[in-house]
Subunit: 220 residues, 2 copies
DNA sequence: AACCAATATATTGTATATAAAAATTTCATC
DNA sequence: GATGAAATTTTTATATACAATATATTGGTT
């Protein structure tokens, strides 16, 4: 009998986990507004759980920088400072560039194909001006490269920074331009040629350019 | 009346905070061994608090990668893989290099003096072969630069990676060589001259070199 | 003796109760 | 009416009680 390979742990989803995911989503998409005061009991009732998993989630969200807890006083959603993009993107660009360098030696044919397919889907979304979908696909594209770098520290840093980028997107409409499509193509080509250094350089530019575009589009 | 400028919140130290700090320290210094199974109740008794702050601390430690929780099963201290230095230092080097670049334009006289003094203390510790103190002072040196970069995302990323470096130090005796002293001097000089790019480059090398030194010294 | 099932035990996750602190309101005094 | 102190309310932090799940143990059957 071929044992069905579902031995990826069927770990039950805990109340804490689902509460965390939901609260994070609410903060990212603005359901929970910046500055809003968070009340344990209200949230617990809203999610149908007790205060314990709520409080545990809030503590994790504090580490991520989505809420700030003033012990004994209050817990509130952090502000969304548009200018934080200036602080957010340089480290993210550095991590993505490093990922590209590390990924370069390990890339096999299938990954290249996956990158190309993802970039095609990205191009379609941008052309349709479906920027929300485009952002998600763009994340996928970069995630493939980060995964290839096979470095758990980078992985977790990028994941954390990405959630903040996503929040800024929801609040201020980050725009992904057609230029990204070509840059992605360049990166794929350079990776295929084994030129990790140059690919990393384009990758960095790809991210840092978003800072300027974000500022030039003050049209909320 | 000049109000005494102690309006930095006198926030009371919560049980959770002290438990977290203590547990982290125990994991870093090896009191809690890699792979060791952690029991809520035991830890609670040992620290004289209830399970709640212990569990909250463990969850934060999981985010940091010091423990792994298997919901419903067990919580254990993560392993210390010597080879993880290969994964740990490249992103840390990248963040430190970026910090150097960002700090360069903002440096005033006092900070330069502080860097020089810190490096002098570092040199003394290395020469005395007091490597534990040297590591701490080395952290101070780099922290000054990270602080000058004034970027909260970088700040928190570096803080997190540094704790893992410290753990590796305790478990495998990372050695800081005399070469670091000179590199620090170079960095200070280049920063004084306003050459942030070159300073960042030396900074990166300073960190990446530690990988080789770590490997060459297999003598536990 | 080996294996399996059923029970017991231990350990975790969640809910609730209690304690401590801060914010707010009330009331008295100037 | 304004100010300040005391008391009340609200909210947070911690402890404990309860429930659910996994592990260990026991005992029976082959």
């Amino acid at each position: 009998m071929p044992i069905p390979s579902e031995h990826q742990r069927p770990t039950r989803v805990t109340a804490k986990e689902s509460a965390f995911t939901q609260l994070q989503q609410w903060i990212i998409d603005g359901t929970l507004q910046p500055g809003e005061k968070l009340n344990d009991i209200e949230l617990a009732e809203a999610l149908g759980v007790s205060r314990t998993p709520i409080r545990e989630s809030l503590q994790l969200l504090e580490v991520q920088g989505f809420v700030k807890m003033y012990p004994g006083k209050a817990t509130q959603v952090t502000e969304v400072d548009k200018e934080s993009i200036n602080d957010l993107l340089p480290p993210l660009a550095a991590m993505q560039a490093l990922s590209t360098e590390l990924a370069a030696p390990n890339l096999d044919e299938n990954v290249i194909i996956e990158l190309e397919e993802t970039n095609n889907r990205f191009a379609k979304a941008v052309q349709k001006e479906d920027y929300f979908t485009a952002l998600k696909i763009d994340e996928d594209f970069h995630q493939i490269i980060v995964d290839q770098a096979a470095n758990k520290y980078i992985h977790s840093i990028v994941a954390s920074l990405q959630t903040h980028v996503r929040r800024l997107f929801f609040h201020n409409s980050i725009i992904l331009t057609e230029k990204s499509i070509d840059e992605h193509k360049d990166i794929i080509r350079l990776l295929t040629e084994g030129n990790g250094e140059k690919a990393a350089s384009i990758m960095r530019e790809n991210w840092l350019r978003a800072i300027d575009e974000f500022h030039s589009k003050k049209t909320d």
